[in-house]
Symmetry: C2
Subunit: 315 residues, 2 copies
Amino acid sequence: MVGRKLTHRLIRDGSLAGRRIEALDLHDIILPDRPEADGVDVVTHAGDLAAPGAVAGLAVKRPDVVFHLAGIVSGEAEANFELGYRVNLDGTRLLFDALRESGNRPRVVFTSSIAVFGAPFPDVIPDEFHPTPLTSYGTQKLIGEALLADYTRRDFFDGIGIRLPTICVRPGKPNKAASGFFSGIIREPLNGLPAQLPVPRSVVHTHASPRSAVNFLIHAAGIDGARVGPRRNLTMPGVAVSVGEQIEALRRVAGDRVAALIREEPDAVIWAIVQNWPTRFAANRARDLGFASEQSFDDIIRVYVEDELGGALPG
Amino acid sequence: MVGRKLTHRLIRDGSLAGRRIEALDLHDIILPDRPEADGVDVVTHAGDLAAPGAVAGLAVKRPDVVFHLAGIVSGEAEANFELGYRVNLDGTRLLFDALRESGNRPRVVFTSSIAVFGAPFPDVIPDEFHPTPLTSYGTQKLIGEALLADYTRRDFFDGIGIRLPTICVRPGKPNKAASGFFSGIIREPLNGLPAQLPVPRSVVHTHASPRSAVNFLIHAAGIDGARVGPRRNLTMPGVAVSVGEQIEALRRVAGDRVAALIREEPDAVIWAIVQNWPTRFAANRARDLGFASEQSFDDIIRVYVEDELGGALPG
């Protein structure tokens, strides 16, 4: 989802990090749609990054910027241990090694995740807090971060790792991810549908919009590596709000009738998972380096309305 | 060196974690000496852990405890990038996967290192400080820690990672490691030889004796995993002293004539490296879990005199 939005943004901008985009290679496990882009040589690739030879065809193009987005998502990496390690660890390492061997030293933007952190947490997680993931996905992301920093230190490429907060409001259908309700309680009512709230309104969580996620990626592509220094992995900023504040924001933006579509249906399983999630991040380093998210959850809702509903509120 | 001392200690004790030792499999890149041990089935193995099939022969023995000590050392891992990753990362992962596939769920004691930390540091590094290694060796150790924690969480085995401080006094000849002088300024004078001091006396560093390193390994083998919780990697305690305090301790233990064998010969290269090293660690979690080191540098010197010089001071 973020990859698709990034592609559209790159084509719309026509440039990245102050240079015109001449070519765009899109790689995914299934063949991505080939977007129209005048004057840009767009090539699509399908395949498993961890399969022999898969990354060689990408590195040989000698890209200036490589965006490496998530492979196997959290739930799937937990359900299928070997698949998660093969794609998220081996795939990442093979890509990094192919770039190392190319000698081209591109900027590499790696999407990591706040899943590198594991409970218990302080109230606000500082930039210097240790990553102790409690999922295989978070472990694989942490290992990717460590490789990124070392390959950068050794001058094989110039990497920036960005730890994304929960992306909200996710477009599309409800899914079974434990975090799905954070988007669902906003998206479903805005589409005139009922939404289930499985946790207490007091739950605090940090969010950034899909548009912010794309902004983070674009900003990371152009940032001066010397300003970043050797600590290459940055926790991105976001909006920390309680679920109750999310609902109040929905009421302000879209009215009582929309907010009334949210139904409290406590789910002990989801609540147990969510209690182990981090709530707030300082993200001072990222903010100082110019990464910016929305300032309020109202803004996050407005981004969804603009980008997914054509600006039209229901009713 | 620590592996050899651990083997001797295990044979002397005859038991580990409250159980009699029945068999001991010793694996190294070159065939280890086969120690005499009545009633213990000692088997020695030689080979590269990262070579196909090398670990299968170890896991098939269904050990109750596995000690995984360092592979490629820091300087070599920095000089030979691919070798370091192959042995320290791939070798570790292959071992962990062989243990996972064995279904035997042994206690795994993994020796990590304070090299997982990278400057800048606070005055005292807390247990919750983030690891940002500035060497490939430190990166490989950090990845080993992350794998250990995840494999433990998934109940494939029961791992404890111990981050060793600088081991001092190292027996044997002087070596070219940047840290070599910390041992050299004690060992060489105690053997009647001159020693070079390449850094200012104000440099503070944390040390533990080889005997403490073995104690850490033995204690980690027997500790209750439930008490450790999900954060499986522990910074070990040690004695934090300045080089000047090291020298004063040598004077107290062995006299002025011995301490006078230390010659100040500033070395800008070594000084530049050492300035990026951590100085003090809180190590509260490890202490609370019963890991103990020497209380003073005098004690560290006495351990060397007892264990390496048969208790006899020079002169």
